[in-house]
Symmetry: C2
Subunit: 282 residues, 2 copies
């Protein structure tokens, strides 16, 4: 009988593409992944990967085996969720995934409230551009700005927030509307709703800074470099920024909460969901 942990390593390698990435994902040394995959090849009698010095690639047989093994990984995650779901009471670890600035600006400041209500819950808050996978248990609860479409999730719309143009009061006073300079996202965000909305406002005017990082936009706008399209929860609370009204239809983005169905009834998870809903209400 083949060692299931060998299969685990192989599946991770198949997904991650390199020994090193798989090793990072599994929290082991890359040599371990290499040896376990070799052991699986030994026990199946099949050559599963082509080892090249810069990257590994699956052989045709390896692809076929990986395909069949995917349900096994899904089952493993289901076991993990079942284990968490059977934990009674309001103790436990709950991982929240949210857009980075949302995590730091909206959620983090209110965590102290959750902490006082439910002292047994330990929160892990990850703000990442890359959407954490709930199916793979990279997070227990996720806040998203698009409606999640993954299977097996319970999804709920928590609310919405608006965007406006913001600049420093001094800058807005001294600058004529047609001469406004703009701060926008870089190419990686070109298709995001706020960037599209902003482009419609800019027209022929100048974009003086493009950055991926919202905090940088805030800092630049605050310093008087130009105006930026910022969420109200950021701009309105900043004394160094003032809204600049525009004719265009205001932009509003919905906030969605997603949780795996298997975890929805876990007390600690429910408490966190409730907390997040309250965060949005304020």
């Amino acid at each position: 009988m083949t060692d299931w942990e060998d299969l685990h390593h192989f599946i991770t390698l198949a997904r991650e593409g390199t020994l090193s990435a798989a090793a990072r994902s599994l929290g082991v040394d890359h040599a371990t992944v290499a040896r376990r995959v070799a052991a699986l090849e030994e026990s199946t009698g099949l050559k599963l990967v082509d080892r090249r010095s810069r990257a590994t690639s699956l052989t045709a047989d390896g692809k076929r085996i990986a395909e069949v093994a995917i349900p096994m990984e899904e089952a493993a995650f289901a076991v993990g969720r079942a284990a968490q779901a059977t934990k009674p009471g309001l103790d436990g670890d709950v991982t929240i995934s949210a857009p980075p600035n949302f995590a730091s600006s909206v959620i983090a400041p209110q965590l102290v409230r959750l902490r006082s209500q439910h002292p047994g819950i330990r929160i892990k808050l990850i703000g990442e551009k890359r959407r954490a996978s709930l199916g793979r248990r990279e997070a227990d609860v996720a806040l998203r700005l698009m409606r999640p479409v993954e299977a097996g999730l319970f999804v709920r719309k928590l609310g919405s927030f608006g965007f406006s143009l913001y600049g420093s009061p001094a800058y807005l006073e001294k600058t004529a509307p047609h001469a406004l300079a703009f701060i926008g996202y870089d190419a990686s965000m070109a298709t995001s709703p706020q960037e599209v909305w902003l482009r419609g406002i800019i027209g022929e005017r100048e974009v003086v800074l493009r950055t991926n990082d919202l905090e940088t936009q805030v800092a630049a706008a605050r310093s008087g470099l130009g105006v930026a399209a910022l969420p109200h929860y950021l701009g309105d609370s900043d004394p160094g920024l003032k809204r600049f009204a525009v004719a265009q239809k205001p932009l509003s983005r919905d906030v969605w909460l997603a949780v795996h169905r298997d975890l929805r009834q876990v007390p600690a998870v429910r408490a966190v969901m409730e907390f997040l809903a309250n965060c949005l209400r304020s």
Copy 2:
């Protein structure tokens, strides 16, 4: 992340019921099973088994987790089958399961023919009362006397064979029909078709030997103890036995061949299936 091999040990324990049985099934020491299950309990934070000194029983949580983990085991078997199915050519190991006397009397004598036709195939022939599970890959190909009903199997009727009464020529000559002594199965086989058939013949006459083992019946009949209901392939080829005709409708049993769908197209398996079909024809 929990070690998948721990899950493997736990699932096996859940199915086998005792640490020792699980250890035998996995081919490891019982202490290893105990330790790996303990590790799983540690990593999930749940108490999964009640350890008692005579047997272990799953806790409610353990049952729930085991339930969820079953698909994982099925997926693991699917991987194993996929690995075997990917093997090209006519080399490889093929395990055949068959009724014990069928294996020794019909199949084994002809294996040399298979061997000469396909030298690359290594056969493992297990004759067990307990039906080997094809889904669990305890065997690749099975011969059964009842139509298999498990899901996922490819089933084909290979043929049938008849039963008659046999005794030693000397015994049959000197014994009047109403005085015949009979050799039959013991209580464990009381409901088998051949035992039921035999009972209808015996009537009020005497049963002088009951045994589970067909070879023992043959030896006893050959020695002149009485008559036994034997398959033709056993009785007709034995110079020390002679048929004793009866008025009752002759008994015939069908022989079924079963193979998992995933393995049906494997060249080595196909060759074995063909060989078994030929065995039945003669």
